[in-house]
Symmetry: C2
Subunit: 226 residues, 2 copies
DNA sequence: AAAATAGTGTCTGTTAGACATTATGGC
DNA sequence: GCCATAATGTCTAACAGACACTATTTT
């Protein structure tokens, strides 16, 4: 297929789906079935279907469902990438979405077209997908310090040690246990379920759940990249 | 012109250009020359011209130049608005940009097609422009507390009282003079020009300029909407 | 010298980080 | 009772906010 210039740019969406597996931040990649870049690993993405999609989150959900068998994820618009060079077919616009899921919201075994790849140490990716992932990780780090966003990586109920480990992975630094719990308690976006963790452990931890989807704080939980 | 559904969405950009005039945050509106909504006040916007524009910031610059006679502004992507209902012509995508300028970067007298309107108390605007402006103001407020962004409203050299007033307008609250200056000094993104303000005043203030375009802080300069 | 605005100093309560200590459940 | 992990308490240094004070220029 030859390079072609469109009178109006082509519009696609891309999904940067992040999850934590074995305490490592990973991104979902999908092997491209079609040109350009057929056979290469890339972000899942696709065209908007005006007849089918009510809005962009729905476009993204449809694509993630088709390519990764996935429901109910945290979804937020990341940013829009555009220009004449990012796609060999010509001037294009891609609206990127950031998706966060607990590992077990994905199929236990991914098919061969799909894989989770550590965010640090990615291979060269087609289009501007490398940059998109870098931007997504930066957004997660920045917003993670000031919100309950990292909890999107956890199942519905979780323990404080799990939550703290998740924040530490997101922020890339160790957090003090005492300070962490004080702030969590002050912010008050958790409630006890009354249950305790069933994981085999010396002392089972209490289980909590969120009282609201995402909370933005005014104080930081660490990660002030001084 | 009848309603029509496109096989691919139409792509436009919109510019939310903010400035401060008489200590009030204002947005630049432009009277629409064409349908839909001809004659109504709306954000300046337009189509991407793939043959002419290297990227979206250039599209926005072109539009601002044509509609508001403007050069060299702070530009940052705001977010993308899309869906079947926002434009009566059908499924559309608009990438909105936030532009910040000092008042005197605009023509002293604006033509009749163009006006600066206070951000609070806007009339009903077509498309989703009301929401775009609200989002832009929210972004400015949020980022303003943690960056030198408000300085984009000031000329190249300015005094500390001017800077503080600008932050107060952006954040919507009074700031303590002493704390403000302490933090500014600690952050160190200003340098003295050696000059003093020429404005008629009891005691002329020292003039400063930025040492870098925009700085993101890890501490806040106020505006923690507790 | 009085007025007005610019700029500095001091005090105090709050908060984050470091680290020590206590509690609880499995074996 | 011992071990491992969970949970809480205490001390200290840094910092923001409030407010008083000093400095400099115009009239």
């Amino acid at each position: 297929m030859a390079t072609k210039t469109f009178r109006q740019p082509v519009v696609t969406v891309d999904a940067v789906l992040l999850t934590i597996e074995e305490d490592i931040l990973k991104v979902l990649l999908h092997r491209r079935q079609q040109d350009p870049f057929a056979g290469r690993w890339a972000l899942p993405g696709g065209f908007v279907h005006p007849d089918e999609d009510r809005d962009l989150p729905q476009t993204v959900s449809r694509i993630l469902r088709d390519k990764a068998g996935l429901a109910g994820v945290y979804l937020e618009q990341l940013r829009t990438y555009a220009g004449p060079d990012r796609d060999p077919r010509g001037w294009s616009v891609s609206i990127a979405y950031l998706a966060l899921v607990p590992r077990d919201a994905l199929p236990e075994e991914l098919d061969e077209r799909t894989s989770l790849h550590p965010v640090s140490g990615l291979p060269d990716l087609p289009f501007d997908h490398g940059r998109q992932i870098a931007d997504a990780a930066a957004r997660l780090r920045g917003k993670g310090a000031y919100s309950s966003l990292p909890a999107a990586f956890l199942p519905e109920s979780f323990t404080l040690p799990m939550l703290q480990r998740t924040y530490e992975i997101v922020l890339g630094e160790a957090l003090d246990q005492s300070s962490f719990r004080r702030k969590i308690a002050d912010l008050g976006f958790l409630e006890e379920t009354g249950e305790k963790s069933k994981a085999a452990s010396a002392r089972p931890a209490r289980l909590y759940r969120l009282t609201e989807p995402v909370r933005i704080f005014n104080r930081s939980l660490g990660g002030n990249q001084a």
